[in-house]
């Protein structure tokens, strides 16, 4: 009994230590900065595409007047737009404030506050018209939420520049770019959950299990056929089955393999390949680019050091090769 009790305490302590290490250990905040900048750039594309149709989607003379939208949204969804005058000028003002918040988030001036503002605007516009939404809107909203929770202004931001100038301190690179970042960990978990949930939904569906789902997907003409793909790829039962099961396998394995040091890079590469392949074949607006931004949260400093090392090595090899040629000539 005592032994059992002891084990329980030890297990709890070990769990608490693991939790603390996982969520609160210092992490490279440049990863947060990369996510922040890439996210802001994509949200600006989203606003730019939305702008010509603002009145169509959100105006009183558009497809969905506020009263109808509010009735459809029910009591749980909220939108700032419902509490403001329903005029074109208000809509324009809200839109440009949202753009301003996104720009400030991108340059990193009060980035967490601006991430919160972007989140509020995204929710407000999304709830104002729910019938134009797709997966990318949920991803956009979630990324804004997690950015709000991570030290996304600690590196490569106007905030950090101003702070250093104000304090006049000369921190080392390591000190400057390392902080606990539990928000980044939450984003990583969220990304894994998205893939896992998509995979688990698919294994409950006959077409994904019997290997024919991609046959149907490839024939949906409002989504499929973005850039040229070989005809045999989606016209042969065997290749369709391979494509279908690869999707399911990828969605179930990547969220597991991404957490292990030995498989992390392979999982990350598989996720990138998956999104780029989808982007090549399908019209899904910004969904895959937003997902790629989310996967950036798994980057480790060793990844780009590894890349830099490789490049340096190749350059070194080239120079050595040139030299040997020179030597031969001389």
């Amino acid at each position: 009994m005592t032994n059992g009790g002891y084990n329980l305490v030890a297990a709890w302590r070990s769990l608490a230590r693991g939790w603390h290490e996982f969520f609160h250990a210092p992490r490279d905040t440049r990863v947060c900065a990369i996510v922040r900048i890439a996210f802001a750039a994509l949200v600006l594309v989203h606003w730019a595409v939305l702008y010509p149709d603002l009145e169509l989607w959100y105006g009183e003379n558009g497809v969905l007047p506020a009263a109808v939208a509010r009735e459809d949204a029910g009591p749980l969804r909220w939108s700032l737009l419902w509490h403001l005058p329903e005029t074109s000028a208000t809509l324009q003002a809200c839109f440009w404030i949202a753009v301003g918040n996104t720009v400030l988030l991108g340059v990193g001036l009060l980035p967490r506050l601006n991430a919160a503002c972007v989140l509020v605007w995204l929710i407000s516009f999304q709830n104002r018209n729910r019938f134009i939404l797709d997966g990318e809107d949920a991803t956009m909203r979630l990324l804004a939420l997690y950015l709000m929770l991570m030290p996304c202004g600690a590196s490569w931001s106007a905030n950090s520049l101003l702070l250093r100038w104000w304090k006049g301190t000369q921190e080392s690179q390591t000190e400057r770019h390392v902080k606990p970042a539990w928000g980044l960990r939450l984003l990583q978990i969220q990304m894994a959950v998205i893939f896992l949930a998509a995979g688990l939904t698919k294994i409950g569906d006959d077409a994904w299990l019997d290997g024919t789902a991609m046959y149907y997907v490839a024939r949906l003409d409002d989504y499929f056929g973005r850039l040229p793909t070989p005809a045999w790829l989606f016209d042969q039962p065997w290749s369709v089955a391979v494509a279908t099961w690869s999707v399911v396998l990828g969605e179930l394995l990547v969220p597991v393999c991404i957490w292990f040091r030995q498989t992390r890079r392979f999982a990350l590469a598989a996720a990138v390949l998956f999104h780029l392949a989808n982007e090549w074949t399908m019209h899904l607006f910004l969904f895959h680019w937003l997902m790629l931004v989310g996967w950036l949260s798994f980057l480790e400093p060793s990844d780009w050091q590894w890349l830099l090392r490789r490049e340096r090595q190749e350059r070194g090899d080239r120079e050595q090769g040139d030299c040997s040629v020179c030597n031969l000539k001389s």
């Binding site: 939790w19 009735e71 459809d72 019938f131 134009i132 939450l186 896992l196």
Partner: protein, 174 residues
Amino acid sequence: MLSRLRLFGVNLLIAAVLVLVAIEAIPQSPPALRALVQPLTLRVGLAQEWDLFAPPDRVNTRLRAEISYADGQMKEWRSPDWPKLAPAQRFTMHRRSEWLDNIWNLGDSPVLTSWAAYLARSERPSAPHAEQGAEVKIIIDQAPIPAAQVAPWTSYHAPAKFTESTTLAIEKLP
């Protein structure tokens, strides 16, 4: 003391987010539990569903509307023929595609009525209040994708054949 309290608060927040995300996202989570957390997830922006093409749709659709104005004039509106558009056009028109995809199976909804009024207005932009007294018939043209079990397969490059038409709604605008 204050930092310990702060750490405790942060850990509590982390745990709450993890629980909410798990309940919201994992398809096997009990619907009653999901309904319980939805008031919170919808409000804070954590609501999510990842049934990406599961199950895949088995039909291509196009919407059109026949508009009879009060003065007897007739107009017809048709949704874009998506495969004929350039990738850049489809990128910028993505929201239109989503709108059409999301409204056709709403049934008898005020959303269709407001859309019908918009169509009647936008098809005669020079006539003020053109929608008043107009009748808008909303029709869906469907091209079912043959079952994968039926051989031989038609190429995915082949244009969809719209063989079925159904009237979704007849909106008589006040």
